[in-house]
């Protein structure tokens, strides 16, 4: 459907995808009315530093914002903040707001993001138990990050481990509980899990895998203890919960849009309603290099889909679709991930984990599908390109550190 005459574009959400869609719409020449509806009080900001430099106090709040307030004025963008959108009327093409009133649209972008998966145990509502998703969460957490206090982190995913690294560097006593038998079990291979487990242990965190939290207990409403399924009791001044996220798809579902663990979109970030797009954590998109549909929780994904939606609305050619990529900072380790390792049948180690500089490549039928690179940008950057060309690489070539990644990439077929 042609939206090139659209005069009213509405974006629901105020995160990375929403910010990108705003910038790209204006960059691609859209000059009509543009409204961003966000349920947080803040203008769009970067989330990755919340569990890294910002949590540690190394980054001022103003540096989190993608654009200053004046930019939204200059670009003639209406920002409706601290307001939830409550319903989408697809036939009238309006978005209803929680305090009454509605906003009409010609094109609508759902950038509703995700929310932390709630902790399903007694005591999860005690004071001192926190999720880590938004700026407001970190504002509550930071004053309690005091050396010597006991922090229990539930979940050894990226967020949990990044927070553990920050907390150890601030001198807290840190225990990480992970239900699975290894850290980062959902996202990486056993060799990487072992490396990060060793690193956090060496840094003084108590990493407990195969540990199921049974309940949180408190005194006077304040959390004091975490109780495990095996009866172990751990004292806690604070508990951080990082057990994954749930996509915010309820608005879309209620409006009858097709969803499957995410709002289903095509390659242009368009839902099956030709006037409605979805971008970021909330969207399930075609993963073109992998021949399947999936939801990605990443900065790259939010940026790319924000651009795709803006291009489709303005009738611009579809921007190129890059290899999915991610990063995580823990202590002095920079982990850079290219591709999606799900479904690998072979791993290849390049370099030495003991040197804290190495990479694990993931192959499927001889084809490179992903890499986890620790303090190794060449492995990451070369793979990012090789993955989308469907390169086949011999394991003995990938592991041969006498050849540079440039040489390996140049010889790849």
């Amino acid at each position: 459907m042609d939206l090139s005459n659209a005069e009213r574009v509405v974006i629901i959400g105020g995160g990375q995808a929403a910010a990108q869609a705003c910038a790209s719409l204006r960059q691609f020449g859209y000059s009509g009315r543009l409204t961003l509806i966000g349920d947080e009080p803040a203008l769009p900001y970067q989330r990755p530093p919340l569990s890294k430099a910002y949590m540690k106090g190394e980054l001022a709040e103003e540096r989190l914002y993608f654009k200053p307030a004046a930019w939204y004025d200059d670009q003639n963008i209406d920002t409706v903040l601290s307001v939830r959108a409550t319903a989408i009327d697809r036939s009238a093409q309006t978005v209803a707001l929680e305090h009454g009133g509605s906003v009409p649209y010609d094109a609508l972008i759902l950038a509703t993001g995700s929310r932390p998966r709630p902790l399903p145990v007694d005591g999860a509502d005690l004071d001192g138990v926190f999720d880590l998703r938004g700026l407001a969460d970190v504002e509550r957490i930071r004053p309690r990050m005091v050396a010597g206090r006991k922090l229990v982190i539930v979940g050894a995913g990226y967020i949990g481990l990044e927070a553990a690294a920050v907390a150890r560097q601030l001198g807290l006593d840190v225990t990480v509980l992970e239900m699975e038998d290894r850290v980062l079990a959902r996202v990486t291979s056993p060799i990487m899990s072992q490396f990060f487990d060793d690193e956090h242990t060496r840094q003084g965190a108590d990493i407990r895998t195969g540990a199921r939290l049974a309940a949180l207990k408190g005194e006077n409403g304040q959390v004091t203890q975490a109780v495990l399924a095996d009866g172990t009791e751990l004292s806690a001044d604070m508990v951080l919960v990082g057990i994954g996220i749930l996509p915010n798809i309820e608005l879309a579902e209620a409006a009858g849009l097709a969803c499957s663990n995410g709002i289903l979109t095509d390659q242009d970030a368009r839902t099956h309603d030709k006037s409605i797009f979805a971008a970021g954590d909330c969207a399930a998109r075609p993963l073109v290099h992998y021949g399947r549909t999936g939801r990605l929780e990443s900065v790259h994904n939010a940026i790319e889909q924000g651009k795709l939606a803006a291009a489709a609305i303005t009738g611009k050619p579809r921007p190129s679709v890059d290899c999915p990529w991610f990063w995580s900072d823990q202590y002095d380790l920079k982990l850079q991930i290219a591709g999606l390792s799900q479904g690998y049948d072979e791993t290849v180690l390049r370099g030495d984990p003991k040197a804290r500089k190495f990479a694990v490549f993931y192959l499927n039928n001889g084809k490179l599908i992903a890499v986890d690179a620790v303090n190794s940008p060449p492995e990451f950057l070369a793979s990012k390109k090789l993955i989308i060309t469907g390169a086949r690489l011999a394991p003995e070539t990938l592991s041969d550190t006498s050849q540079s990644m440039k040489e390996i990439a140049a010889a790849a077929v």
Binding site: A23, Q46, P48, P49, K52, R63, F66, K67, P68, W71, V299, H300, I303, S320, D322, W325, W327, D329, K334, Q336, N375, S376, P377, P378, L381, A382, K406
Partner: protein, 106 residues
């Protein structure tokens, strides 16, 4: 405060006031300077804020650290004066700094 001059690949100059302590990348993003993507927001994770530093400022700006250098090695059209602008922190000495942005970051 320092003035930073961004020159795009076609030669158009844009002059902006930068805040000390912020990076040349952040200053560009906040002022909607074209040619710098900076997808990772300054974490030195993505190599999409590549710029060329004007020769006159090469010494003041300094040389990249190892991590940055190894990322630059994979940027397009790298030259001796290439830097990742997220790793250049603005200070008074950089007043008048001229950086040239490449045609594309990919």
């Amino acid at each position: 405060m320092a003035k930073i001059i961004y020159v795009d690949h076609e030669g158009t100059e844009r002059v902006v006031e930068a805040t000390n302590g912020e990076s040349v990348m952040e200053t560009a993003i906040k002022n909607s300077i074209p040619g710098i993507d900076a997808d990772c927001g300054g974490a030195c994770a993505c190599a999409t804020c590549h710029v060329y530093v004007d020769e006159a400022f090469m010494e003041t700006v300094g040389t990249p650290e190892d991590m940055e250098q190894s990322m630059l090695d994979f940027a397009e059209n790298v030259q001796a004066n290439s830097r990742l602008s997220c790793q250049i922190s603005v200070n008074d000495e950089l007043d008048g700094l001229k950086v040239i942005t490449p045609e594309s970051q990919h």
